[in-house]
């Protein structure tokens, strides 16, 4: 779609559509809460099974929760700066690129949040991500590839998507998901490993042969399936959040076509991201692993491009 043919969809007062955006946000938040609660439940059940097999189910649950809380606190205190350093992102000075700073500050005004710190990554692959648990302490990072390959409107649409993540609390939310999934994986792994080394007779309180065997079976089944299910849930939440951030981007810029153009450009660019890895792939606006660029399967962190564009078009009408 040539940029010159695009008619900007911009109205000074958008009375009706805020309801649509707000409805979208409410539905998405409810879904995400449900998914998060499911993960916590899985962790709790796993903890209970492990605990009850080795003695006390309550201690098992408590142990699981404590593990998750500790990991979350560590992530919350230093998480974003660690991620930025790991990705090789450097803070940007206003004098180096006033236009980019302007673009971000303008959208921060539209969003009603303080402007996040801007970081730049030396990489030809066009991509962007956001970190930070609260809007007051948030960062947004973009690659030099993105900066060069998008025009001002498309750049602003991408930035609006990222600020949408910040404003909707996605960055903190996804860390919570990762911590839960990690804890589930850890406990499952420990449980399965202890069986491999033959600790069948180690239950301190034999609750009677039948009960013990049932718990054992449940524990094995759960330890095998829980990590799988938790990853599916995490991916589902991630996709929901991407849709929501797209909707927020349109709400902020009032220019759906800019975002559509940007997403198409980003997805079709074949350059792979140098520092992409599984731990951070979900944070980017498009999946940095170009092999999975079509996305859309149950394990994808990002929805299919076609689906994203369809939802955006639906917002226009």
């Amino acid at each position: 779609m040539p940029a010159t043919e695009v008619k900007p969809y911009k109205a000074p007062v958008l009375r009706g559509s805020r309801k649509t955006f707000a409805e979208l946000q409410k539905v998405n938040r409810r879904r995400s809460l449900f998914l998060a609660a499911s993960l916590i439940l899985i962790l709790g059940i796993l903890g209970a099974l492990v605990g009850s097999y080795f003695g006390d189910w309550l201690i098992g649950v408590a142990g699981g929760m404590v593990l998750a809380v500790i990991q979350f606190s560590i992530a919350r205190s230093a998480g974003n700066k660690m991620v930025l350093a790991a990705m090789g992102a450097k803070p940007l000075d206003r004098r180096d690129d006033p236009q980019l700073v302007n673009v971000v500050e303008e959208i921060a005004i539209a969003a009603g949040i303080p402007c996040p710190e801007i970081y730049l990554m030396q990489d030809d692959s066009p991509n962007a991500f956001a970190t930070g648990f609260t809007p007051k302490n948030a960062q947004v990072a973009i690659t030099t590839g993105l900066r060069e390959k998008l025009n001002r409107a498309e750049l602003q649409a991408v930035m609006a998507h990222e600020l949408g993540h910040i404003r909707n609390g996605d960055t903190g939310y996804m860390v919570l998901m990762a911590v839960l999934v990690g804890s589930i994986a850890l406990i499952s792994d420990m449980a399965l490993r202890s069986f491999r080394y033959g600790s069948f007779g180690r239950s301190r309180k034999s609750k009677g042969g039948g009960g013990g065997a049932l718990i054992l079976v449940l524990l094995i089944v759960f330890s095998l399936l829980a990590p799988l299910f938790s990853k599916l849930l995490q991916a589902a939440v991630s996709r929901q959040r991407e849709f929501l951030a797209d909707a927020t981007s349109v709400e902020l810029t009032r220019e759906p076509t800019a975002l559509i153009d940007a997403l198409q450009k980003l997805t079709r660019d074949p350059t792979p991201l140098k520092s992409a890895n599984r731990a951070v792939q979900h944070m980017f606006i498009v999946n940095p692993f170009k092999r999975h660029k079509l996305g859309g399967n149950a394990f994808s962190s990002h929805p299919k491009l076609a689906d994203r564009i369809n939802r955006i078009r639906r917002l226009m009408s």
Binding site: P12, V13, L14, E105, I109, A110
Partner: protein, 191 residues
């Protein structure tokens, strides 16, 4: 179950319901207060961005003056309009003056089209970006104000918060609307 819980179950349930209502009440009231303050803050934001434009214009005029020796009236129109906007006392007056300022700026940029030396000036190019950004910021801050007002008005009108809003005199805020159709167009800063 301890005696004091079992015997007076009805009482405890009633107490629980009352506590729940009180919490809801306080929550809704505080939400309305926060909403009204958000509207005031959003309105102040618009003023901040308008002021930013006022501050940029002297620099613009200075840079252009050297090149636009024969376009005195255009420059002076901009300076005058800016002063009028700063001096405006009522909201209506200010909105009118703002529109005036926008059209004088538009004339200035139209005139500058014919002066390639001015176009190439580094300072001018930086100013071009700053002015584009300023126009965008003004637009976005107005948009944010309207969005905030919409959210607040919904709360004032919808059940159950409308009950509490009525009790404490929370009124709907007004949307910001541009009366002049021409002023809806952003100042096209295209060199």
């Amino acid at each position: 179950m301890p005696y004091f819980l079992a015997a007076y179950t009805g009482l405890w349930i009633g107490l629980g319901v009352v506590v729940l209502f009180v919490l809801m009440f306080v929550g809704i009231y505080n939400g309305l207060v926060a909403g009204r303050n958000s509207c005031k803050n959003a309105w102040a934001q618009v003023d901040v961005q308008l002021k930013r434009r006022y501050d940029l214009i002297p620099n613009l005029v200075e840079t252009a003056k050297g090149y636009l020796k024969h376009e005195r009236e255009t420059l002076e129109a901009v300076i005058k309009a800016r002063q009028m906007a700063i001096d405006a006392s009522s909201i209506k007056e200010q909105a009118k003056a703002e529109n005036m300022l926008t059209s004088t700026l538009r004339s200035l940029f139209a005139v500058s089209e014919s002066y390639p030396d001015l176009k190439a000036n580094q300072n001018m190019m930086a100013l071009q970006e700053e002015l584009t950004s300023t126009e965008n910021r003004i637009g976005f801050s107005r948009q944010n104000y309207n969005d905030t007002v919409l959210g607040f008005n919904n709360r004032v009108q919808q059940f159950p918060s409308n009950v509490i809003a009525g009790m404490f005199g929370f009124k709907e805020e007004e949307f910001f609307e541009l009366e002049d159709q021409a002023a809806r167009e952003p100042v096209k800063v295209k060199f």
